[in-house]
Symmetry: C2
Subunit: 253 residues, 2 copies
């Protein structure tokens, strides 16, 4: 049976998971759109709650069948109603938002980064460069919103993600070297030591990091740029910093 009514309670629920961050947090659920994200989820060994398909391609049908979860068929209009993308693909999945997990790998902390594209890009880049966990304050874009998921391109499932009520407190108890990035006046990336666990702190481009966050810094870091030019985008700053740490020679080498 194909669900074709937007008034169907499950359809209303999926749409709300897509649109409403408070509802997502309350339910502990989110909605993934498109085969790329669903494939990344399954590759990470996570089973969705259910999979929604509509005029799915062969590849999308195989993903759905291989998910081990209930597969619900919906009309094109319903798929469009529950998805954020203007032209939704043939598959979506309702998931439980993964619980944060302990890691000894490097961490990333985000403060007040409201732009969903930037938060997603930083999640993707963090996953690519071996970061173990990302902690965000609640002023950041919701990491489980459709736009952040899209920009994250599956990175969400390669690391631990946690929205925390008090970021400064998390910084204070971080058991490693805290590197706060600042637009000007910090040390260059070669000042980052070669050993030990790193915690990178990135803030909003407009306001920079709060005094509370800066107080916790073991080191302030500035990515140097050409004289007279504008600042770097925060996602570009993160890419440069995280690559530089990922690529640093091991201690003693």
């Amino acid at each position: 049976m194909i669900i074709s009514s937007r008034d169907n309670p499950r359809v209303k629920r999926w749409a709300k998971l897509s649109e409403d961050g408070r509802f997502r947090r309350g339910e502990g659920r989110a909605l993934l759109e498109g085969p790329h994200l669903v494939a990344a989820l399954l590759q990470a060994g996570i089973k969705p709650v259910c999979v929604v398909v509509s005029e799915a391609s062969d590849e999308e049908r195989q993903l759905a069948a291989g998910s081990g979860a209930e597969v619900v068929e919906v009309s094109r209009a319903v798929m469009k109603a529950v998805c954020d993308a203007e032209t939704p693909q043939g598959i979506a999945a309702e998931i439980e938002i993964p619980k944060p997990r302990l890691t000894k790998a490097d961490s990333v902390f985000l403060e007040g980064i409201q732009d969903a594209g930037n938060v997603g890009a930083i999640i993707r880049t963090s996953a690519a460069f071996g970061i173990g966990s990302i902690l965000l304050d609640s002023a950041c874009a919701d990491p489980w919103s459709p736009k952040v998921l899209r920009a994250g391109a599956g990175g969400h499932f390669a690391l631990s993600i946690q929205v925390v009520p008090d970021l400064a407190k998390e910084l204070a108890i971080f058991p490693g070297t805290l590197l706060c990035t600042v637009a000007t006046g910090g040390r260059g990336l070669d000042a980052v030591g070669r050993a030990g666990r790193l915690g990178w702190v990135f803030g909003s481009e407009g306001r920079g990091l709060s005094a509370g966050a800066l107080d916790e810094a073991d080191l302030k870091i500035t990515v140097p740029i050409a004289p007279g030019t504008e600042s770097l985008n925060v996602a570009a700053t993160a890419a440069v910093c995280l690559y530089s740490a990922f690529n640093r020679p091991a201690a003693g080498s």
Copy 2:
């Protein structure tokens, strides 16, 4: 006099400059939105054709007055009609699209990058890391569209930007070392020499670079990522590559 009719021919023209890439190219004009871009334009010593203001702040009025150009006051509704931003700011400017200029600094080449946010981010990052010129093929997002301008954050006016009909031809005549970025199998960034002019070539994430572009490569470069993780976003790849070249020790040191 305040223009308050959307049927005013100048209003229609500004809206078309905002919405229609072909019209922009035909006219050789574009529309900048917001005080940040207008300030970057003026800082680069470029005089706009005219400045449009609506309920402008003091800062925006000062920018308008300092532009040396005609200032046109419009109603809020007209400003909303001509701007791409959902909540337009109080100032916009019609500009002549700057002519490409000769440079001996490093260059960036973009092939088939359709995402406006990525093209804008790469322009911003290129400006920050001292790139002299960016050449894009016509499959890329229009660099003078509102979304690319917004993501470029003023970087547009720090370097030469040119949309070219035949990118492979431009690569063939580039007088320096051409570095084509590939998702896998290329050399690391330490393979980039310390002397001479560099040309970085970035392609779409989905398809990668064309065979024609790869044929021109002096070196294929891959930014290494953690095993088992997804690929990097093209703007993150560009940030890492351009920083690495900007920050490389001078030849002989």
